[in-house]
């Protein structure tokens, strides 16, 4: 399944839409996108995962990397992740580092 990614930064809110499957290969693309939005020093990172079918540990590492890159003050929102991805975030304790929401803005 092809991976696609789009991003935009408006008023310090970086929104990244992820679709398809996020594995080690596509995680490299995700990381590049994070580096790109980081240049604008956003305070909020909104990850739209509604159309993300799969996320491996590589995807988790980019999530962690994003917090490092953009500072501990960064608030991360994960929008409409599928249940299996929520499970992964919970199993690894990462659900404490992100806000899982049905929509953004709330």
């Amino acid at each position: 399944m092809d991976f696609t990614i789009n991003s935009e930064v408006v008023d310090k809110v970086a929104k990244i839409t992820l679709s398809g499957e996020l594995d080690s290969l596509s995680a490299r693309v995700f990381q590049k996108e994070i580096e790109k939005v980081a240049l604008q020093s956003p305070t909020e990172l909104v990850l739209d995962m509604e159309h993300l079918a799969f996320m491996s540990s590589a995807g988790l590492r980019v999530l962690i990397f994003s917090k490092q890159k953009m500072g501990v003050g960064l608030t991360i929102y994960v929008v409409k992740p599928q249940e299996a991805i929520v499970d992964t975030l919970e199993k690894t304790g990462l659900q404490h580092s992100v806000n899982i929401v049905d929509q953004y803005p709330a």
Partner: protein, 141 residues
């Protein structure tokens, strides 16, 4: 056992996941168990490809053997790269990431998801081949 062979390159990750998904569905695994198995095989396949082959400058194949029996699905990955037991080594993060020391636990995330995603995960080195074995109980509906 059924056998399908994939080149040990990152381009194989997607077809390999799809193949294991098809086998899982045929075996009657539920959605959650299938997803967790895919997560596990993707992790191990990635490690074999990146560390066993690409970073070692080798080319080769991963043999994927599958078998359904006694309400259990067994998937075995066999490869000819250098011996590598994922259960004993904490894998380094991909070298592009510049993570500080306190991130070290993160290095084991993938293996943690692998071991906890299947009923049983084991490794053995036999006949000069790495064998990564995933076993999943097929729950009755």
């Amino acid at each position: 056992m059924e056998l399908k062979t994939f080149p040990a390159t990152v381009d194989s990750l997607d077809p390999l996941r799809q193949y294991v998904k098809d086998v899982s569905q045929q075996a009657g695994l539920d959605k959650k168990a299938t997803y967790n198995l895919i997560l596990a095989v993707d992790e191990i396949a990635t490690n074999i490809i990146l560390y066993g082959y690409e970073k070692a400058g080798l080319e080769g194949f991963i043999d994927v053997l599958t078998e359904v029996s006694d309400n259990r699905l067994k998937v075995v990955f066999e490869d000819d790269a250098a011996p590598f037991d994922p259960t004993t080594r904490e894998l380094p993060d991909e070298e592009d990431f510049d993570l500080p020391l306190e991130e070290r636990p993160i290095g084991g995330l993938g293996i943690y998801l692998t071991i906890n995603g299947v009923s049983e995960f084991s490794y053995e080195y036999i006949n000069n081949r790495n064998r990564n074995i995933f076993e999943v109980d097929i729950k009755s509906p």
